[in-house]
């Protein structure tokens, strides 16, 4: 069996006594303690450019999200408001979690082949891999809504229909509804 010989550094006397090393660690933590205490004090007196902590106080204070971050899906619209999706089933096929459900229908415009009659995503199954976005030939599905709070008390609350996916701006209402819903009795 192949083994890897790891060269371990021999500790010198000071390191083996251990107390000097403790004092070194102590110096770092104490420095942070007093520096942050001072910065908190400055902030309390109105100097806002001193930050004593890197914390984001989440519900009130949202973290800035990267543009590349994959967040809740949305469906793109044409200029007339109908979905840009042509129901080619690429995303449904590539989806590793099998969480996309599409039913195709005939589009009234002869230039466009198909239109989804329904386009549902079960976020309870979705793994946020973003393959659907990459697979889409029409740029009809994107994951750039920057919506993170999808939590729900019911499974149904995680099931997004085409209407909800087309209008991500109404997400807040859905979450509110899900929060107010009482769990069904067992």
């Amino acid at each position: 069996m192949a083994t890897i010989q790891v060269e371990r550094k021999k500790m010198n006397l000071l390191e083996r006594i251990y107390l000097p090393e403790i004092i070194r660690g102590f110096r770092i933590t104490t420095f942070h303690f007093f520096r942050n205490l001072l910065f908190h004090l400055f902030r309390a007196f109105g100097f806002k450019n001193f930050k004593g902590a890197v914390t984001f106080q989440y519900p009130e204070e949202q973290r800035p999200l990267s543009d590349r971050l994959r967040t809740r899906h949305r469906l793109m619209q044409r200029e007339d408001g109908s979905p840009r999706c042509v129901a080619c089933m690429m995303c449904e096929t590539v989806c590793p979690a099998k969480c996309i459900y599409i039913e195709a229908a005939e589009h009234p415009d002869p230039n466009i082949e198909k239109i989804p009659a329904s386009f549902d995503i079960d976020l309870g199954k979705c793994v946020y891999c973003g393959f659907c976005v990459e697979a889409c030939p029409e740029d009809a599905i994107r994951m750039d809504t920057k919506i993170l709070d999808i939590a729900s008390l019911t499974r149904g609350g995680l099931y997004y229909t085409m209407e909800e996916l087309l209008h991500p701006e109404q997400h807040g209402a859905k979450i509110e509804e899900a929060r107010n819903k009482v769990l069904p009795p067992k």
């Binding site: 933590t29 205490l37 908190h40």
Partner: protein, 363 residues
């Protein structure tokens, strides 16, 4: 009314205030632990508990914790030994609290004809009393581990036993050097004799006479309080520890004991090694400055200053122990035993030898 009666009543009031202070400080330490660790790690820390929109830097979390502990179900495992199971947290917290009776938290308060000693129990074996009570407190831990009938808590109890045994030895022996220097086991006398000066300027504090003894005492003391560098009995990451089966306020009592022991170690460190309520330059009649100027103060005021100095020393040591707790990682079990038996124990005996030799040479 007789003088003695009034004196005893006043002493009772003072000691009661001290006990209440200790208990409040133990509660406050839960907040200090959260906030100090947060500040040390560039975080903000718990600040969500609020009353009418006021948050007060998260101070209400103490109340929230207490309400949570008291209203939670206090569950007793079906197979547990019910009597011992319920007795264990009480033993733990009782013997941690009773040690404070022997701590002198101020000089005798003198006004008019009254002399009020600021100490619960002033007796000759105060030091032995504290160590005896500390040893009995271990029973609470062992009983908790044993009576829960859970393998994890049993493991925690075993670990606690061997750890506390190892460190109690080093702790007890590290104090002997100090006792040799001052020639007394009476805590009040120990503090009084620390008011002297070496070469006229260095306070004759235990720390300056026994630096090695202080380091051994502090390490053993941290081990005694079962907090992080030595939290093997609790071992939150693997066995949760001897109180794994406890819930509600019974668990809260074990938690409280940890903080009480932290305060106790701070008190002992202050009393034994940092002059208790002594302030350098402060004598019975007021401040003596280095150039011979004397600022006379009434003895009443001097005593009060001493009490505040003692509170300051306790606060400093509590902060110090917290900083250590949030700086160091936990020891491995064999390292713990190695440190206790092979390093601290021989060192503390060597300390006695050196102290004895020096005392013999100087006399």
């Amino acid at each position: 009314m007789s003088v003695v009666f009034i004196q005893s009543t006043l002493q009772l009031v003072a000691v009661f205030a001290f006990f209440m202070g200790v208990l409040s400080l133990a509660g406050l330490l839960t907040w200090v632990e959260r906030k100090q660790s947060a500040v040390m790690q560039d975080r903000i820390g718990a600040n969500r508990a609020e009353i009418f929109g006021f948050r007060f830097f998260g101070l209400f979390h103490i109340i929230a914790d207490a309400i949570k502990m008291l209203t939670k179900e206090s569950f007793i495992p079906a197979k547990a030994d019910k009597f011992l199971y319920q007795l264990a947290p009480i033993i733990s917290v009782f013997f941690a609290l009773i040690t404070f009776a022997a701590i002198p938290f101020g000089n005798d308060l003198k006004f008019g004809e009254y002399v009020v000693p600021l100490q619960g129990l002033d007796f000759n074996v105060g030091l032995l009393f504290i160590f005896a009570m500390l040893s009995i407190a271990v029973y609470g831990v062992i009983l908790a581990g044993f009576s829960s009938q859970s393998n994890f808590s049993f493991l925690g109890g075993l670990r606690a036993t061997s750890q506390l045994l190892a460190y109690e030895m080093a702790m007890g022996i590290s104090i002997i050097g100090l006792v040799m220097c001052y020639g007394s086991l009476n805590l009040n006398e120990l503090v009084h004799s620390q008011g002297d000066y070496l070469w006229g300027w260095l306070p004759k504090w235990g720390f300056f006479l026994q630096p090695l003894g202080f380091i051994i005492f502090l390490i053993a003391g941290i081990a005694e309080s079962k907090r992080v560098p030595f939290d093997i009995p609790e071992g939150e990451s693997e066995i949760v520890g001897y109180f794994v089966e406890y819930s509600g306020m019974r668990f809260g009592l074990f938690f409280l004991t940890d903080f009480l022991e932290t305060i106790l170690i701070s008190c002992l460190a202050a009393v034994l090694f940092f002059g208790g309520w002594q302030v350098p330059g402060l004598f019975e009649d007021g401040f003596h400055f280095w150039n011979g100027v004397v600022w006379n103060l009434p003895s009443f005021v001097v005593t009060i200053i001493g009490v505040f100095a003692f509170i300051f020393k306790i606060a400093f040591f509590c902060w110090f122990l917290m900083t250590i707790r949030w700086t160091l990682p936990r020891f491995r079990y064999d390292q713990l035993m190695h440190l206790g038996w092979k390093i601290l124990f021989p060192l503390s005996i060597a300390n006695i030898l050196i102290t004895g030799t020096v005392i013999l040479l100087l006399s």
